[in-house]
């Protein structure tokens, strides 16, 4: 095996192009991560959880750490109501173990690399430690262990830690077994290893009565692309699996097997899990996979055992379900993870189902030691909480750790997103929705494990989806009725469909789809009939078709090991019938005549036998060009490989290899940009990587909110420039508009700052949606609401002002926006709204008038000032493409809003004038030297001015719902009626404004009369007494410089911050009556 690996690597090196061998100096990173990315979830289906630990504090609160199989570590400080990811900055996201130090709840250990070794499992890179509750992490070593299943911290000495590492899944490795540190992780000693290089540690437990007494399980296992073994190659083949016990902290070990320990089964063994009961150290539970797999129980601390339960959910699929969790208080009670979790209350003699209404496929639970009825567990469908000891379960809908394999989008506006997930079916969800993309905006379409899902371009009422093994169906979106349309084999023929069977749509014929077994099939009638358009395109190697023997000791042939299959299909968008096919056993096949003739062009890649073709991608720009992602991780090589042909496969050049800077993780997908052949996107096990120069140089796309999660598929919109990522562990992510990447030429990259032009922006219609769901559900993010302005800057902006202004077509500055400071690409959003009306102050906000109406479509100018240098670019604003109204309608709305604003200006001046007269007259009335007669006149003037003011504005304070409506409040509602929609105002809305203007004019007339009458008379009287008259000149209201915004933002988004203190109490009611 090792020799073969080296040969293959050498061949890859030989095929590298000159630029890869003599790499030019890489250009400065362009900071593409500044484009940003948003997660749309979903947490509805969530995803597999591998490990859990928790602790209940003295205040009763439960702090919970959840290790997702491929989505990082999540922390809840409120028992699971809310979570936040705390491992996102680390280079891997696959978690195998999470352990809280029993002596210090702020010290958390995480073992990376899941140990539930299914075919799609990811990899880790060692053990991590946090001493501050997960805020910061230190990588503590064991980088080559690949996967860790258990970490145990000494109960009283935090420096002593045991790490149980099954180790590499796909290859031999000495870096596995049981490791121990006595200095808090600074140094490690391998204290137990297997008898061969495929045997690692599967279990470790410390005797609660004597922590130097250590019991460990060793597990011999190996997965290949076409088979798996737990134990040896069969139930009676020698295996390195064993159980050991040490009485001196791991310095020396004694075997525990049928020859040394009464009651244990004869070997060979497979996966082993052994635990002490915390409630009674003499009670030992051990699950041992063997020809007679069972639970074995010891009542004497492990000196002897008795075989007990052998039920299906005890012994089924030991490689995937082996965990035993004993009750911390009751020695007779224990849980065993499996498809259905089971529980025993009689020391393992009998078990009952404890899964309730959960998803199933359980992997770990935490039992609250202060209330053992309180259990938190994880399965393939996410996190579950029980308050009755495991009878009933509440799902946590707040962990977006969904494991997508593939993604596609439709041509709706906004588009919907389709994808299939590991053990979680096939779904469709919204890319945007008013109020946020809640879990309820996702709809299940099918069942099983989900993979490729496509809307039928010929009939939007239907989708194509599949479950494992190529079980494709055509599904009615309205009734959800599904019709099996999987091609069937002929006489004594077995069709080999991959676990993740490829389906592809023809870009040339709506309704034509392809699916691959070892043959390529095509249907032109929605699956009613199929044409077999190829011979066997694989190597058809019979040695890799022995899946019925897969599993080792326990047979396991779930179609996950199906091999010598077609794995990727891509028809050229330029040439109909030109189809590229990649197989999981290394072939790349090409037909240029719709399947009549095929050529195995992959031979020219000279990759050797041990490769899989993860992806083939026909170029969008040149029919001779195709790209291939080569995956060798199932042979133990975790490096990325991307190759390209420009001559229909006659020759290949390597764009990415093990030594390529900027790319890491085995590759899953490669795609070309929609418009630029220079730009390539590659998804690997560790994220998204982008090249702007045909693959010569690469840059990781890693915004701060995006972890190093596996990117398994990328959907490129047929129109528009959104990039949609299917991640295997963190759901679906969208990069809104990647077009600025195309603008990053050398001149731009050399500049201090450059504004990057965009396509015309739409004034997207804003709808109302969503409803409060509490804090325990996940809500996916919408795209930003406004015009996105993008600029590049060479370095982070720290010193001095940076100003971004919007200039309208007349040359007037109408808005100033806060700038983004980061190095590289930056994005800023402009609301495309005018300033709000200047309303007179009153008892409460005029809610409709907190924001201006939309600006009119047209060409605006973006002006960026940095370090005194001014740059500008045009920004074209247009209507929402979905709008049913015209620009003339919008103009009518705009003009009506401006008219109301003018009335508000008059109203504000009127109110200011009334207040001025009132306050001056009040001062006269309150002045002791004022004559009694003048006091009376002044007080009368005060009262009359106030009476007029109260016709204009509501004045009742106190926070109650007063329902007080005056001119200001009525005008606010009239303004809202005009601006709440963007179409032409109704005639009655305008008539209402006419009426209010008339009412305003009457009050203005009243004020004018008051000034000419009572006020003038008072002034004459004051002058007669030698007292200064009150000033009756027009008073201008104090300008309101606030731009305001949607009133809903006050209620929905104000957040507590140190800079402004908590804002939560400032919220206005979301529902106002």
């Amino acid at each position: 095996m090792r020799r073969t690996l080296l040969l293959a690597s050498t061949m890859l090196a030989l095929s590298a192009p000159a630029h890869a061998q003599q790499a030019p100096a890489a250009p400065a990173a362009s900071g593409i991560s500044g484009l940003g990315i948003r997660n749309i979830g979903s947490a509805e289906m969530s995803g597999r959880i591998a490990a859990i630990d928790a602790v209940q504090g003295k205040d009763g609160k439960v702090t919970l750490y959840v290790g997702a199989a491929s989505g990082g570590v999540w922390k809840s400080e409120d028992g699971g109501t809310t979570f936040r990811p705390i491992f996102d900055k680390q280079p891997v996201q696959s978690i195998g173990a999470v352990t809280i130090d029993p002596s210090n709840p702020n010290t958390i250990w995480v073992g990376t690399g899941e140990s539930w070794t299914r075919n799609s499992v990811s990899i880790g890179d060692g053990v991590y430690k946090s001493t501050d509750g997960g805020d910061n992490w230190m990588r503590m070593g064991l980088p080559k262990t690949e996967r860790i299943t258990k970490i145990v911290v000494h109960p009283t000495n935090s420096d002593i830690v045991y790490v149980c590492a099954p180790g590499a899944l796909w290859s031999d490795s000495p870096d596995r077994g049981l490791y121990k540190t006595t200095d808090g992780g600074v140094t490690w000693t391998q204290i137990l290893k297997g008898s061969n290089l495929s045997t690692g540690c599967s279990s470790v437990a410390l005797d609660p009565a004597n922590p130097d007494r250590v019991m460990a399980g060793l597990w011999d296992f190996r997965r290949k692309g076409w088979t798996f073994r737990s134990g040896g190659e069969g139930p009676d083949v020698a295996s390195g699996s064993a159980m050991k016990i040490s009485n001196d902290g791991g310095r020396t070990w004694e075997a525990m097997d049928a020859s040394t320990t009464k009651g244990l089964p004869k070997g060979p063994w497979g996966r082993i899990e052994a635990v002490f009961s915390p409630a009674d150290p003499n009670r030992v539970y051990a699950f041992i996979e063997s020809e007679r797999s069972a639970l074995f129980v010891s009542e004497d601390g492990g000196k002897s055992f008795e075989e007990r339960d052998r039920s299906r959910n005890m012994v089924w699929r030991p490689f995937y379900f082996s965990k035993i969790v004993p009750d911390p208080k009751d020695a007779n009670r224990l849980f065993k993870m499996n498809l259905n979790m089971i529980v025993s209350d009689d020391g393992g003699k009998s078990f009952a189902n404890a899964s309730g209404g959960s998803h199933g496929d359980w992997h770990d639970i935490w039992i609250n030691p202060t209330n053992t009825k309180h259990i938190i567990g994880g399965d393939d469908g996410g996190l579950w909480i029980s308050h009755d000891g495991g009878s009933k379960w509440v799902k946590s809908f707040n962990l977006p750790i969904s494991q997508f394999y593939h993604v596609s989008i439709d041509d709706k506006d906004p588009y919907q997103v389709y994808g299939g997930l590991q053990d979680n079916s096939s779904w469709v969800g919204d890319s945007e929705y008013p109020g946020g993309i809640t879990n309820s905006r996702w709809e299940n379409l099918y069942g099983g494990d989900g993979f490729w899902v496509f809307p039928d371009p010929a009939d939007p009422d239907y989708v194509y989806a599949e479950y494992q093994g190529g079980n494709i169906a055509r599904i009615n979106r309205k009734t959800l009725e599904s019709r099996d349309i999987q091609p069937k084999g002929g006489y004594k023929e077995k069709l080999r469909f991959n676990w993740n069977t490829p389906i592809a749509l023809s870009p040339h014929e709506k309704g034509t789809i392809y699916i691959g077994s070892q043959f390529l099939f095509r249907t032109r009638d929605h699956g009613t009939t199929w044409d077999r358009i190829s011979p066997d395109l694989t190597t058809n190697n019979p040695a890799r078709q022995q899946q019925e023997k897969s599993g080792g000791i326990t047979v396991d042939n779930s179609s996950a090991e199906m091999h010598t299959t077609i794995y990727s299909i891509s028809e050229s968008q330029l040439t109909a019938g030109q189809i590229w096919v990649g197989t999981d056993d290394g072939n790349v096949q090409l037909t240029r005549d719709g399947g009549q003739n095929w050529a195995n062009v992959g031979k020219a890649m000279k990759l050797g036998p041990d490769v899989s073709i993860a992806w083939v991608e026909a170029s969008r720009h040149d029919p001779a060009v195709a790209y291939v992602a080569v995956d060798r991780h199932s042979f133990g090589d975790m490096a990325p490989y991307i190759l390209k042909t420009a001559d229909y496969g006659k020759s290949w050049t390597r764009l990415v290899g093990p030594a390529t800077p900027g790319v890491r993780g085995y590759a899953h997908v490669v795609k070309e940009d929609r418009l630029s052949p220079d730009i390539l996107f590659v998804g690997t096990e560790f994220g998204l990587f982008i090249s702007r120069d045909k693959g010569a140089n690469w840059e990781e796309f890693r915004p701060g909110n995006f972890p190093a999660v596996a990117v398994r598929d990328i959907a490129v919109a047929a129109q528009g420039d959104d990039l949609v990522l299917a991640t295997h562990g963190r759901g679906i992510w969208i990069i809104d508009d990647i077009s600025p990447v195309r603008a990053l030429n050398p001149d731009v990259l050399a500049s201090d700052v450059t504004l990057i032009r965009s396509e015309p922006v739409q004034q997207r219609i804003r709808g109302n949606g969503g409803w409060p769901e509490g804090d325990a559900t996940y809500v996916g993010q919408n795209p930003v609401d406004g015009a996105v302005i993008t600029y590049y800057q060479k370095a982070r902006h720290v010193l001095g002002r940076m100003k971004l202004e919007i200039v309208d077509p007349s040359g007037k500055v109408i808005d100033e926006l806060p700038t983004s400071k980061r190095k590289g690409l930056n994005r800023v959003v402009w609301s495309m709204r005018t300033k709000p009306p200047q309303v007179p102050p009153a008892a409460s906000l005029a809610f409709a008038s907190t924001q201006g109406q939309r600006v009119m479509p047209g060409t605006y100018t973006v002006r960026l000032t940095k370090a005194g240098k001014v740059t500008e670019m045009p920004l074209v604003v247009g209507l929402d493409k979905r709008a049913k109204f015209t620009t003339a309608d919008r103009q009518a709305q705009y003009d009506a809003a401006e008219r109301v604003k003018g009335l508000f200006v008059r109203m504000s001046a009127l109110t200011a004038g009334l207040n001025a007269v009132k306050s001056q007259a009040q001062a006269v009335a309150d002045n002791e030297s004022t004559s009694a007669a003048n006091k009376a006149k002044a007080q009368a003037l005060v009262d009359k001015a106030d009476a007029l003011r109260k016709q204009v504005v509501a004045t009742t304070e106190g926070g109650a719902i007063t329902g007080e409506e005056r001119l200001r409040e009525n005008m606010d509602m009239a303004y809202g009626a005009i601006t709440a929609t963007e179409a032409r105002p109704t005639s009655y809305a305008l008539a209402r404004v006419d009426a209010l203007e008339k009412e305003l004019a009457e009050v203005e007339a009243g004020f004018a009369a008051l000034k000419a009458g009572d006020a003038a008379a008072l002034n004459l009287a004051l002058q007669a007494d030698g007292v200064a008259p009150i000033d009756l000149a027009a008073v201008q209201p104090r300008p309101d410089n606030a731009r305001g915004g949607p009133a809903a933002a006050i209620g929905s988004y104000m957040v507590g911050t140190r800079y402004t203190g908590s804002m939560s109490a400032l919220r206005t009611s979301r529902k106002r009556n």
Partner: protein, 253 residues
């Protein structure tokens, strides 16, 4: 944002106390940050500072912004729209607020946790540069990439358990990011901040751009843009004291 007072002397004490190598490195970075801001003497000369500008809440809601801080630690923030002003204040003992948007203009007292947050705000010096004065622990956590900038990472742990992680720009040694972890009513709250547009006020650098957001919600940012800053403005105690509540429920006026 961050103010400094006699930090150099305190740093001297720390450095001479035989702190371990990691702590010494942290101290050096704190000192460099102090020097970058303008030095201890310039900080000491600032008795009060006033900022005027605008604040934009997530959802694009903008209000005018006015903030006054004193060397003693008082702070008052006024944010206005339609002639209505949100006010928050801290007078060294009590935190309070006024929310006029739904008809109440009398002041309400903040919870103690919220007031503690205001108290941190009230310090011109800020948690990093007042760490030595307050007996907080400063730890150097190494370098960290922040959107393409290889920053220095410092963690301040205050005696009350509140934590502040700072990222310092390696070219200017000024703070460009901060993560604040504190408990509000027993529940953990993590806020992140990004600083920029530093300008000098009375010889001391202050960020004229501050963005903040709840951890994990970086796409929903609160942005504060300061148009002007003035040092040593009048700052009477009455400005920061909680206004007395009316004897009876407010009513029409």
């Amino acid at each position: 944002m961050i103010s400094l007072r006699s930090a150099a002397a305190l740093l001297g004490v720390l450095l001479s106390a035989g702190a371990p190598a990691m702590a010494q490195s942290a101290d050096e970075l704190v000192a460099q940050n102090l020097a970058a801001r303008g030095g201890a003497a310039a900080l000491d000369a600032i008795e009060s500072v006033k900022f005027d500008g605008m604040v934009i809440f997530p959802g694009d809601f903008q209000l005018t912004y006015e903030e006054v801080r004193t060397k003693a630690g008082d702070v008052r923030v006024d944010m206005a729209l339609q002639g209505l002003t949100l006010v928050q204040g801290w007078d060294g003992k009590t935190g309070w607020r006024i929310n006029p948007f739904e008809g109440r203009k009398d002041a309400e007292r903040m919870s103690d946790d919220e007031a503690r947050s205001m108290a941190d705000t009230g310090s011109i010096r800020g948690p990093l540069q007042k760490a030595a004065m307050q007996g907080s622990t400063v730890t150097y956590l190494g370098r960290e990439d922040f959107d393409g900038t290889n920053t220095y990472k410092l963690k301040v742990t205050e005696k009350d358990g509140d934590e502040f992680v700072y990222l310092l720009d390696p070219d200017t040694m000024l703070e460009v990011k901060m993560v604040e972890t504190r408990r509000i009513r027993g529940a953990l709250q993590v806020f992140e901040y990004e600083f920029g547009d530093y300008e000098k006020i009375a010889g001391v650098y202050f960020p004229m751009s501050v963005e903040s957001w709840l951890a994990g919600q970086g796409n929903n940012r609160q942005r504060t843009i300061i148009a002007s800053g003035t040092a040593n403005v009048p700052a009477p105690a009455s400005l920061f004291a909680q206004p007395a509540s009316p004897a009876t429920a407010p009513k029409g006026n």
